[in-house]
Amino acid sequence: MVLSLLTAVLLALFLLFITLPVVSLFLRISPEAFLSSLTEPVVLDALSLSFVTATVSTVIVVLFGTPLALVNARHDYRGRELVDTLTDLPIVLPPAVAGLALLMAFGRRGVIGQYLDIFGIHIGFTTIAVILAQVFVASPFYIRQARASFETVDRLYEDAARTLGASRMTVALRITIPLAWGGLVSGAILSFARALGEFGATIMFAGNFQGRTQTMPLAIYTTMQGDMNAAISLSIILVVISFAVISAVKIVTRRKY
């Protein structure tokens, strides 16, 4: 009895600790001010840039990550552990390291960038740099989830499909991917959310320019120096999106065949 009361108190304290700062964001701005900052160009530009870049990076992550996750879930080969570790790496790397690493690779004097420079291709300070940074930091969220979902698909279905005349490709497209669908979708949503929230690597690698590289988190950081209402409005939008994302993942993963 005493124990359950104590647990309840601890739980309540912790919930308060998480909820209070989030709620404070909503309390610091009037609905009118919120709506009017939604029409500010800096807010609109950041919103549309964030959605476009996060969508493109999620598509890239899914296109490259799905085959990789499938191969690693189904085939044992030399170096698989290493590949797994490498694909997980961005999760634990501080974004600042990711940003610096991308600069060293794709910057104008970078390992790859110096050759691109010869052809007049500059990645730094472009929207492409934003997408590269997002792909880099967001990919593990999809790949990990995808691999785990593929592993839960019973191999028997794949074997049965092969004996019924399905090629490896058909098996992947018609059997394995549909059976892992819920996990793949939730992985893609998480990856999208991570891309949307990406800040550190972007500001280092892509710079900060409204409409071109200034995504929502960068706009929050920038407007905080001047227009606090815009910063709070953007933060509220991100809170709402994050909440929606987590709920969406919960709903998708609950769905079972």
């Binding site: 647990t7 600069l103 910057g107 104008r108 300070f125 710079g207 200034q214 920038t222 905080m224 120096q225």
Partner: protein
């Protein structure tokens, strides 16, 4: 064990909380007579004030100076939100005035103490061949400046306005330069690396922002006085400061010969008291 798991969990949590409380108490406990000054300092003064703090502590054994370095706007917001500090050193009069208006400052102590002018910097190998402001409007030059809300970005814009008003350059010059801006940074600290790595061709920052170490990576080009915008840095004691006497003595040190020497070394122009 199974039965006692929740109890163990609660006990462990409580022990951690208790431990933190004890740790918190011991760290705030001070040796008798020692006072700690908390100085909220504009990020552009990081190098200079770190040195000044060390010099001051060396002369005053019973005082410990803690610096919080951040953008002036951020520091102002933190003070408005109730952060405890003794002194605020701002990179712009705007934020100081706002705090004065809000009653956060001991108004009689607030004074400008430092001038900082803008400089044009380019990478040492200068790939775009920039020799001065006149080259900034060439197509393809990649320029980095501050956002309009940070002082060095604000002053940069003021400088371009002055140039636009001068028939020698004109409005077209300003438009062409602004078109070449590839990134607007919120802190000077992220500008120099972009030049050092060759990502950008030129940037406009405070003269003082270019450290001695940086000069191996970037070249500083002076900006003519007629276009330059000199920022004045004000400092002052907070109304809520518990150690006003100590704070006054620290400010006197900053503005005295020792402080001025360090500030000059870092590229600032101290304003005599």
């Amino acid at each position: 064990m199974k039965v006692s798991t929740p109890a163990t969990l609660v006990a462990v949590t409580l022990m951690i909380i208790a431990g933190l409380l004890v740790a918190g108490c011991t760290t705030t406990e001070e040796t008798p007579g020692e006072t700690t000054l908390t100085v909220f300092t504009a990020a552009s003064l990081t190098g200079a004030f770190t040195d000044i703090g060390k010099a001051y502590e060396a002369q005053n054994e019973n005082v410990k100076v803690d610096f919080v370095f951040d953008g002036s706007q951020t520091l102002r917001t933190q003070i408005e939100q109730g952060a405890n500090a003794d002194i605020f050193v701002s990179a712009s009069t705007k934020h100081m005035k706002a705090l004065q208006g809000g009653g956060f400052m001991e108004n009689s102590t607030v004074a400008p103490f430092l001038g900082n002018s803008l400089a044009l910097i380019v990478p040492v190998d200068n790939p775009a061949g920039i020799t001065g402001l006149a080259d900034l409007n060439k197509p393809g030059v990649k320029i980095v400046i501050g956002t309009k809300d940070v002082p060095f970005g604000d002053y940069t814009r003021q400088m371009f306005e002055k140039m636009a008003a001068d028939p020698a350059y004109g409005p077209a010059y300003k438009d062409a330069v602004m078109k070449n801006v590839v990134s607007e940074e919120t802190a000077v600290s992220s500008v120099v690396p972009k030049l050092a790595l060759g990502e950008a061709d030129a940037a406009i920052v405070y003269k003082s922002d270019v450290s001695k170490d940086d000069l191996t990576k970037v070249t500083r080009l002076d900006i003519p006085a007629e276009y330059n915008v000199v920022a004045t840095y004000p400092l002052g004691i907070l109304a809520e400061s518990p150690g006003k006497t100590e704070a006054e003595s620290f400010i006197a040190f900053v503005r005295g010969p020792d402080g001025s020497a360090i500030l000059t070394e870092y590229g600032f122009d101290p304003i005599a008291a």
